[in-house]
Symmetry: C2
Subunit: 143 residues, 2 copies
DNA sequence: TACTAAATTGTAATAATATCAAATTAGAAA
DNA sequence: TTTCTAATTTGATATTATTACAATTTAGTA
């Protein structure tokens, strides 16, 4: 059940705690780019002793180890994502969904403007998602 | 002195106030992507009656009119930038500078993943800027 | 010049995140 | 397996960025 998350933590020499395993599992099963509050309140249901600070701390150490990444696309709070292959993100201005976008940026791994060393690239696209466009046209509700 | 900013506001049918003119002027003369606090405290020096709320409000209306744009690249607060030609941004992890990057993204003005309508694109590059690399090697201080 | 809707101001509220000290626990060492 | 200690978790409190709001002021029209 948790073997793969145990392995991930071990591989990075991070102490294995149930809180960290639960957070990793949650992110792995919910690719919706949740914020801290969502992760906290969801996990709190099954693990009432969980503290919000632990969620912040855990995400921080996972981020330092490049196991997760944080996104600032929403503008008001950090959103979290399991780090997999490089991908970018699309924010729907209507429904708020954050979607993974599988394009590659030709400027990754390069030196910019004659000397700036690039270590990370985040591409944020904003607009109206496919589903919301359909809703607009067809006057259907989103549920 | 302020004619160009007056024109900008008039062109967008935004009421002309000295506060808005000062903010526009500040952004036009400081392409450092300042946050609200920087803009506020700088302008407050010459205009002691200025309120922080006014800075927030003004930036908001300027943003709605696409005269300025806000960046979330720093992660903790919004940074502001005069909207000019499309460009992207580089954040130096060492000195914190945010620099304009003049590459064009081939995915702008397109439909992504078979249907998401793209209206805005922000490319965030993070790493070590040219200047900080020199400092590293040469062991010079940044001043 | 007078009027009114909109903008400015300052205070207070909210939301996200950071700090910190006390209690708990993972995992190394005995 | 038990003991020990450094690291982690917890919860309370602090801080920071931003928003809400009511009273005052002002831009721009009539």
């Amino acid at each position: 059940m948790y073997e793969k998350y145990v392995k991930t933590l071990k591989d990075h020499s991070i102490k294995i705690t149930s809180q960290r395993l639960e957070i990793l599992k949650y992110l792995n099963e919910h690719h919706t780019h949740p914020n801290v509050e969502e992760i906290y309140s969801e996990l709190k249901k099954k693990h009432p002793s969980l503290s919000r600070t632990t969620v912040y701390n855990s995400l921080e150490i996972l981020k330092k180890n490049k196991i997760v990444q944080s996104l600032t696309i929403s503008g008001s709070e950090l959103r979290y994502d399991i780090e997999e292959s490089l991908h970018h993100h699309f924010l729907c201005k209507k429904c708020g969904a954050i979607l993974d976008i599988s394009i590659t940026c030709p400027n990754m791994d390069r030196t910019l403007d004659g000397g700036h060393r690039v270590e990370e690239v985040q591409g944020y696209f904003k607009g109206i998602c496919k589903n919301c466009q359909t809703t607009e046209k067809g006057r259907r509700t989103n549920g």
